[in-house]
């Protein structure tokens, strides 16, 4: 086990006009579960592959346990990886798949069998040890891929969207299993996903990437409560945070005809600006009891509660979503909505950077 440090790590693909990963800095503590998340093309997979030694580090460095990995081949990094398509060896049995790396490292046959059995027991794979991958279900293959990684007892686990080939139910189930397994083994883990729910539920800390650049590296709670910019605010949370461009008027916000008061710290932060982008999460809009009038365009019933989609009567080209109790509102009706001043996020209208606390 070891800590992992990305130090200005950069990767440039031949012929690309900008780096796939641009001066990435991450300090991952020993035993930590870190999730890299971002839309496709954000460089999250590339960042992981740089750690695994499958992509060149063109500038900066990556250190594992303090050792610089620039120029060190994958096989000497003591890393195990779980691939999106699992990459199981089709001609080998489950046991051989899991034992292959031990064999490559010259571990004796008895020791190999003992460790494979141990890992198989942990993952409920014992009855499958003699089977070939083509005779396994998707979930079983996924577990074999996990088993192949843990049997090595590596310093770091790299996981590249390991759940994306599973169906929705199995994905949720496996998600908790992987997280629990990682906590139990205590191996430093870097996990790549495009699914922000996976990121939020699994990671000790989450790194949000966009266009090869790190946007924010923080705990799930902090990402949700204090996104550093509009991109993170919009990416984390589902449905996404509402964003409204509003006027600033004497230390308060003017939304349509309504004035939303700001706290002292917020007022200081917006001083000198005439407009800001206001961010409010759907659950922080109170439906049915506010001054602003919302025309309801669509109601999504989720069972436990519902999401109300609509636009402000005063500003028809806005679009808002709010969480409400179930069955209370109907399409076409006009309802009042209110803001909780303590739950507002303010962003610079041009740069999108967070303003104030």
């Amino acid at each position: 086990m070891a800590d992992v440090c990305y130090d200005e790590a950069t990767c440039i693909y031949a012929g690309a006009d900008r780096p796939a990963v641009d001066a990435l800095n991450l300090d991952i503590k020993d035993g930590e579960f870190v999730v890299l998340v971002g839309p496709s093309g954000s460089g999250k997979s590339t960042a992981l592959r740089m750690l695994a030694g499958l992509e060149e580090i063109d500038a900066g460095s990556i250190r594992i346990g303090g050792r610089d990995m620039v120029g060190v081949p994958s096989r000497d990094r003591d890393i195990a990886m779980v691939f999106q398509n699992y990459a199981l060896y089709p001609n080998k049995t489950v046991a051989e798949n899991m034992g292959f790396s031990l064999k490559m490292h010259g571990v004796s046959k008895e020791e190999r069998q003992r460790r494979v059995r141990e890992a198989a027991r942990l993952l409920d794979l014992e009855p499958l040890l003699g089977r070939k991958p083509k005779h396994l279900s998707g979930g079983q293959r996924q577990r074999v891929a996990m088993g192949r990684a843990i049997v090595r007892e590596p310093q770091v686990f790299c996981m590249d969207e390991p759940l994306s080939n599973l169906d929705a139910k199995l994905r949720v189930q496996t998600r908790t299993q992987i997280a629990a397994l990682q906590r139990r083994l205590g191996v430093t883990t870097v996990y790549v996903t495009h699914d922000q729910v996976e990121a939020m539920t699994m990671g000790d800390r989450v790194a949000v990437l966009r266009d090869g650049r790190l946007q924010q590296f923080a705990t799930p709670g902090e990402l949700y409560d204090r996104p550093v910019n509009l991109f993170v605010a919009g990416f984390i949370g589902s449905p996404a945070m509402n964003q409204l461009n509003v006027d600033v008027d004497a230390g308060a916000l003017r939304v349509g005809e309504t004035v939303v008061p700001l706290s002292a710290a917020q007022a200081t932060a917006v001083a000198g600006l005439s407009r800001v982008t206001l961010g409010v999460r759907p659950e922080h809009l109170s439906v049915g009891g506010g001054e602003l009038k919302l025309q309801v365009d669509l109601v999504e019933e989720l069972g436990s509660d519902s999401y109300v989609y609509g636009h402000l009567v005063a500003e028809p080209d806005t679009s808002l979503v709010a969480r409400a109790g179930r069955g209370r509102f109907r399409m076409g009706e006009t309802v009042g909505i209110g803001f909780d001043p303590g739950q507002l996020h303010l962003f610079h209208p041009d740069s999108g950077e967070r303003l104030g606390p």
Binding site: S74, I79, S101
Partner: protein
């Protein structure tokens, strides 16, 4: 699939009649019958010459010549005996050496090339591939004189190893293209997984990649073997008594005294057998190899 849909769509049977456990097969329509007949005709048309060759090989020379062809005759092995006594052994040996050694050489040289051109591509990969293919664009006739002169200069005329070299060169482009298409089907993660597991390149190739592409390897080997075994032009031009191969031997039966049908048929049947056998042995691998992408 169609039959199942039709059964589902069919009106329910009378309640008194028990539902048969086995679904009635759909009766073939008139269109299907026509296509079936056409398919059989085409099949027979293709297979007939081969059948005729095999039949003729069991006839006497006189019976093979009858103007109304005989389908019923008393079979004899006389012509086979005659072929074997005419020294076919050395021709077979030459063909076998030229084929086996050239196929092994092609696989040894072509597989790494195909590997590099598929899993480790570089900027000039497509140029290299085109170059391989372009060597097949020159008619062999255009190359035979320089080849003859070159072989003569190094005293390798009528030498089976010259054929080995030529057949290797002849089949290499095809093998590289074929092997490349099989290797392209291999997910690159497989190689990466092996590397992360601590395997060096050679070990990953041997333990992970080659078992996956072995059907492709078999298909490539078989195609190259057929081409080498059947090759006639080089063999007839640069070999004489010592290094001549089976196709050259066959042509020997078309002599100035006329055609010996039965003998030629017997010899041709013998010449065909190894390829047919190889194809039969490799059949399963071959089908898997040729439909590699479809069943991944």
């Amino acid at each position: 699939m169609m039959a199942a849909t039709d059964t589902l769509a069919a009106p329910p049977r009378a309640a008194t009649r028990p539902t048969p456990a086995i679904r009635r097969r759909r009766r073939p329509g008139i269109g299907n019958v026509v296509w079936g007949v056409v398919a059989w005709l085409v099949g027979i048309l293709f297979f007939f010459p081969v059948l005729w060759m095999v039949l003729s090989s069991f006839k006497t020379e006189a019976a093979a010549y009858t103007n109304v062809p005989q389908f019923v005759f008393s079979p004899t092995l006389a012509e086979y005996r005659h072929v074997f006594s005419s020294g076919v052994g050395s021709y077979f040996l030459n063909s076998a050496i030229a084929t086996v050694v050239s196929v092994v050489a092609v696989l040894l040289l072509g597989t790494p090339a195909a590997f590099a051109l598929s899993l480790r591509p570089i900027k000039k990969t497509s140029d290299a591939l085109f170059f391989f293919l372009s060597t097949k664009m020159l008619p062999i006739v255009a190359a035979i004189i320089p080849l003859f002169v070159a072989a003569e200069a190094v005293h390798m005329l009528d030498n089976v190893w010259t054929l080995v070299i030529l057949y290797t060169a002849m089949n290499l482009p095809i093998a590289v293209w074929m092997m490349r298409s099989f290797l392209l089907e291999v997910p690159s993660e497989l190689l990466e997984a092996a590397e992360m597991d601590g395997a060096r390149l050679w070990r990953s190739l041997r333990e992970v990649i080659l078992p996956v592409v072995s059907p492709g390897l078999a298909a490539t080997a078989l195609i190259c073997a057929i081409f080498a075994w059947n090759e006639f032009f080089f063999a007839v031009n640069i070999t004489a008594a010592r290094a001549a191969t089976v196709p050259v031997f066959l042509v020997g039966f078309i002599s100035s005294q006329g055609l010996y049908w039965a003998q030629l048929a017997a010899a041709a049947t013998i010449a065909t057998l190894p390829v047919v056998l190889a194809g039969w042995v490799a059949q399963r691998q071959l089908v898997r190899g040729l439909s590699f992408g479809a069943i991944k």
